[in-house]
């Protein structure tokens, strides 16, 4: 051991002596090994609690209030990062507490998630005891003996939290001179400008931070939020793609990527996202919902461009994952009917899973599809029956308005328009145009 390491270990011994420590790992041998190592490094055995799973650790956390948590990422159905929230809740004031993941999970998604959560270190198993000791000692000493740069940032954050924005800005400017790549200082400077509504300055700060370090999470998300706030969707889409590339674990972010791909008409991107999506083993419901919705929007785009076969391929892909999501299939069927593709619409109606056959979406689209072959009286009766069942689908209203006009009952049609607007306000213009003189002719 070098003299510097000796000195660090001595400082660490002093640091760890009074600390309460929690080790959470399903592997008994791992818990025992880590506890022994920390005891060798100066921890008091009575201050160490060993937990085999998330629930045990979570129950113990509020009363024990550990200042050091060493934790596995994979804790059965829960994740070690879930424990971080419990740890922060138990120690809201402790800026010197340590949270380190020591884990077999080497995936980029887990590492990125941990970086997003701003934990103190991420150490892979299996390790050598020397490398582990060094990592833990250094992480702890950085908390206890911060650099002048880190101290300035902490000082600025305190000013920011207390609402003294000008002091905060001056302190972050001082911090920028203390580090060759002061990304974090740029970010907080941007935050202060954002609070002051100086949006151009804030944007410039985030970009400056990213010029030093293009994967800085806080600058990337700060810039993204700012661009969204300014409705600069093209720029926001570029930024969120970059975030999703480096921080892949967050399904919420993938959904934002899809939403912005739609908003920016990047339809070819959506088709490629779908290809990649099919290769992901761990898809959650939210991601499935968004990819289906994005495919439908994309299909509608191609339908408008008269590219029917391409649109049908996209609807087909969406429907494969939408069996139990009647809203997606409803949208497809309604879109195809509107495009005079009744035969194809009937095909998609058959794809509703049997468990959704009582759903409002299924009943509504079945009516929309079949009513054109019904006599006027029957069609109106069927539509009214669905409304009385509480199925207030805009398409049902549109048909009923049209049928009432055709049957020479404009008063009833007008009443329907009022009810339709009350129940489906997003379609107000559609309902009003259905009342125009030529609307009832077709």
């Amino acid at each position: 051991m070098t003299p510097a390491q000796d000195k660090n270990e001595a400082l660490f011994r002093k640091y760890i002596d009074p600390k309460k420590i929690m080790i959470t790992d399903p592997c008994m041998g791992m818990r025992a090994g880590l506890a022994k190592m920390l005891t060798d490094m100066g921890a008091r055995p009575g201050n160490i609690k060993l937990c085999r799973d998330y629930d045990t650790a979570d129950q113990l956390m509020p009363a024990f209030k550990p200042e050091i948590v060493l934790c596995e990422y994979d804790l059965g159905p829960r994740c070690g990062l879930d424990l971080l929230q419990a740890h922060r809740a138990a120690n809201p004031e402790s800026k010197k507490s340590l949270f380190i993941l020591i884990t077999s999970n080497s995936s980029q998604s887990a590492v990125a998630q941990a970086a997003e959560e701003d934990i103190d270190n991420y150490i892979l198993k299996p390790y050598t005891i020397d490398s582990l000791r060094t990592s833990i000692v250094r992480s702890a000493l950085m908390k206890d003996y911060p650099t002048p740069y880190q101290s300035s940032i902490d000082e600025g954050k305190t000013a920011l939290e207390s609402g003294d924005y000008d002091t905060a800005i001056a302190t972050f400017e001082k911090a920028m001179k203390l580090d060759p790549k002061p990304t974090l200082a740029c970010f907080y400077h941007g935050q202060a400008n954002l609070i002051k509504e100086l949006l151009d300055f804030a944007q410039s700060d985030y970009n400056k931070g990213l010029a030093y370090n293009r994967i800085h999470y806080k600058c990337l998300t700060g810039l993204f939020d700012l661009l969204m706030k300014r409705s600069m969707h093209e720029g926001a889409y570029d930024v969120v793609k970059r975030i999703a590339r480096y921080f892949p674990a967050n399904p919420q972010r993938l959904t934002t990527v899809l939403r912005l791909a739609v908003m920016t008409n990047s339809f070819e991107d959506i088709e490629r996202y779908y290809q990649i999506f099919t290769g992901i083993e761990t898809r959650n419901e939210e991601l499935i919902k968004y990819i289906c919705a994005a495919l439908v929007v994309c299909g509608k785009f191609y339908l408008r461009k008269e590219s029917k076969s391409r649109a049908l391929v996209l609807f087909d892909k969406a429907s494969m994952y939408a069996g139990e999501k009647p809203a997606i299939l409803r949208e497809i069927v309604i879109t195809l009917i509107a495009a005079n593709m009744q035969k194809e619409a009937s095909g998609f109606l058959k794809r509703f899973a049997s468990c959704t056959h009582e759903s409002p979406e299924f009943l509504a689209v079945r009516y929309v599809l079949q009513e054109s072959s019904m006599p006027e009286v029957e069609s109106i009766a069927e539509g009214e029956k669905l409304l009385s069942m509480g199925i207030h689908d805009a398409e049902i209203y549109k048909i009923l308005i049209k049928r009432c006009l055709q049957s020479g009952d404009p008063e009833k049609a007008q009443n329907l328009v009022r009810a339709a607007i009350a129940n489906c306000p997003n379609y107000e213009k559609d309902f009003e145009s259905a009342m125009k003189p030529d609307a009832g002719q077709g």
């Binding site: 592997c27 008994m28 041998g29 791992m30 025992a32 090994g33 077999s104 999970n105 080497s106 995936s107 980029q108 998604s109 590492v111 990125a112 970086a115 997003e116 701003d118 270190n121 991420y122 892979l124 198993k125 299996p126 390790y127 050598t128 005891i129 490398s131 990592s135 250094r138 992480s139 000493l141 950085m142 880190q150 990304t183 974090l184 970010f187 931070g209 370090n213 994967i215 800085h216 999470y217 806080k218 600058c219 570029d238 793609k241 970059r242 999703a244 590339r245 480096y246 921080f247 892949p248 674990a249 993938l254 991107d269 490629r272 996202y273 990649i276 999506f277 992901i280 083993e281 761990t282």
Partner: protein
Amino acid sequence: MDTDGEQMTDNDSPDDIINPNDFKSIDVQVMMINETSHTGVMKGQRMFGEEQQKAASAYVKFLEFIDKGMIIEVPHPSCGKGHTLCLDIQVCGIKNEIHFEVTARVMEIENLDEGRDRIKVTLLTYDELFWNAFKSVFQNRQQEVTEFFFAAKGTEKP
């Protein structure tokens, strides 16, 4: 994933944005046969004869590297101090999977609760090339993880 800031481009393709490989982790599977007692480890039970050949890895956990050896966790009782073990080690979830065998001697045994032993073994016979490649997989990935992790946080590496 490329985490080297200098080599990154802003021309993110969708393949980079949803990359199935980002969800894969390195996995080490260890099968153990005790050459001294002629038993293996399978599903937490000691196995004999033919069955030992099928000894499964789920119950042997690789914990730490030590100098020319390792610390592993095994079911109790799988071995005694001084026993010779044959360990079949497979590293999956990487581009070029590594699969090799070593023989090792049990130097220390710590009996844990829950029917497990933490044992320290030193290598007797092994292919140095494989062993070094095995260690490098984790050292290199740790280095990548550390680079990315602290760059993303924007704090100094400890």
